[in-house]
Symmetry: C2
């Protein structure tokens, strides 16, 4: 049916093992033989069966990217998809396939199957799913966690952006702009990255601290912040856990006719495509999602290649200053 390696061998007048060696650039082969083999491959439009190849060689030629999403929203969160782009790019360069799998509510089954059924040579895991028991089944299988794992027990390898540093950046910037009472808005306080951002905020802040958690929606941020903004001693600046929170805050300020940035400074995490088109444009703690994906994939391949590379990589965040926090003329 399909063209096989022995068809090529026959046509080229050599043994199939020779064809295999030519394809894989293995042993020393005469240029002349190579030419004949290549010619035969071209003539027959030969494509090696990757399954047979993998079975024989023991390498699957694929990596798995596991997501932990209960709904489309989480899945399409822009953090994930941006990184995915970079991951795919690295994989493509290495000749690897990328398999994505939603591991939500499978209790590690997804991950276990991917590994044990030999579907992938390595895994990129979400920080939410790693737990000691999972890590035990993962063992020394090559993996990298994309984000700082919620539980560190047994986890030795991850790539993340430095959330504490991000908050630090935001707070210092606001302080430089003369804001005094800086609060923190938004985020599920159970999620690791939120905890770290809040920690960074608390460390950086000099005055009184105020943290207002939300459920992640714009609406909730809006209503949570409304009453507080009406008080006399209200904060004069916010670090927002994400763009949703910032949107809720913007809405509340507008309603209460609080001027931004003169009466209120805002910095938010994550550079959403629309963040620069709000009114006023938002100052952002930018996470280089591309670099994040790239580094994660690179590290994974290092581990696949030589079962080493237990390391944690931390990427710095960047401040993009826009109107929402620029009180002082430059």
């Amino acid at each position: 049916m399909a063209v096989t390696i022995s068809d090529v061998a026959k046509l080229a007048g050599v043994n199939s093992s020779t064809v295999s060696r030519v394809i894989n650039g293995k042993a020393s082969i005469t240029q002349e033989t190579k030419d004949r083999v290549y010619a035969a491959m071209k003539e027959l439009d030969f494509h090696p069966n990757s399954l047979a190849r993998s079975l024989a060689s023991g390498l699957c030629g694929a990596i798995g990217v596991v997501v932990d999403a209960r709904d489309a929203e989480a899945f399409s969160n822009f953090f994930f998809s941006r990184s995915l782009f970079a991951i795919e790019q690295v994989a493509q360069e290495k000749g690897y396939q990328v398999i994505i799998a939603n591991g939500a509510q499978s209790k590690g089954r997804t991950i276990e199957n991917l590994m044990k059924e030999r579907k992938v040579d390595g895994l990129i895991l979400p920080p939410t799913t790693v737990n000691p028991s999972l890590m035990e089944t993962v063992g020394d299988f090559p993996y990298v966690v994309l984000g700082t794992p919620d539980t560190l027990r047994g986890v030795t390898c991850w790539v993340d952006n430095n959330n504490e540093q991000g908050s630090d950046l935001a707070v210092h910037h606001l302080q430089e702009q003369g804001y005094q009472r800086i609060a923190y808005l938004g985020g599920n306080q159970k999620r690791g990255f939120t905890i770290r951002r809040v920690r960074g905020y608390k460390k950086a802040i000099s005055g009184e601290e105020l943290v207002i958690p939300t459920d992640g929606t714009t609406e909730n941020a809006y209503s949570s912040v409304l009453e507080i903004l009406k008080t006399k001693e209200r904060p004069d600046a916010f670090v927002c856990n994400d763009n949703m929170a910032a949107f809720g805050l913007l809405k509340a300020c507008k309603e209460l006719k609080i001027q931004i940035p003169s009466e209120m400074g805002i910095v938010a995490f994550d550079n959403y495509p629309l963040a620069e088109y709000t009114d006023p444009p938002l100052t952002i703690v930018d996470i280089d999602t591309g670099m994040l994906g790239d580094q994660t994939a690179q590290l994974l391949f290092r581990r696949i290649d030589k079962r080493s590379g237990n390391q944690q990589i931390m990427l710095s965040t960047n401040l993009i200053v826009r109107e929402s926090s620029e009180r002082l003329a430059k």
Copy 2:
């Protein structure tokens, strides 16, 4: 090294073929034998090697989702990632893996390799890559185009939302609200979906038509529309090709102090997460991306199962009415 089917067979005291049949629920096997085999599998923590399985059975157990993205932005476009979620879900139910691959600037190589190297049993293709020569190499390999292909020659199977109908919905709604001079804003006029949306707009419109293309950015929409809004006979409503265009328009209106919705009605395609938090919230032609992905995957599996199912599925869009177009009290 790894546990194989014959290890299980040995422990259960049967032949490996029996184990295989138990796993696949094939022939009639005594309940007692089944039990012994299952027990052995459990005891040894046996996971069948999917590569060997695929090689022997001729099915790869994976489908490929090809994207055509030059940058992370396009890749993470929310249309794609939302549909991907649904696709993965369907695949998971069928026990299939999802491979994603960026086919940009590979001239069909990506697609060809996925097929011919037996990496996938079926393909979901982006409308931009299909062209007659590609379709020839695809042949009767199971595929579904997600979106209406730019070239129809040789393409027999796709799933798309009805863009014409979407524009129709938008225009009629605006007319009902009493808007008179309805224009169309945004979109690359070379992209198929834009063309169809514009076509729908032109068909639905009764008065004079006005189409203002953009390069897809908010900025460009803003600047493109600014001058026109200053004219006396300016449009009193816009159908926007996407959220970016709508944002640009909002900004321009704000600057010129044009009241929405009293002096200007706005309807935009695509229900971005932030679309309901603009000021005022945007009326949206909503595309059910989840359903789109679901139907695409379902159709693909129908084709994989029985090499049939040459069909085109068109999904209706939905209007979500919000303030930006609600001039008349209900």
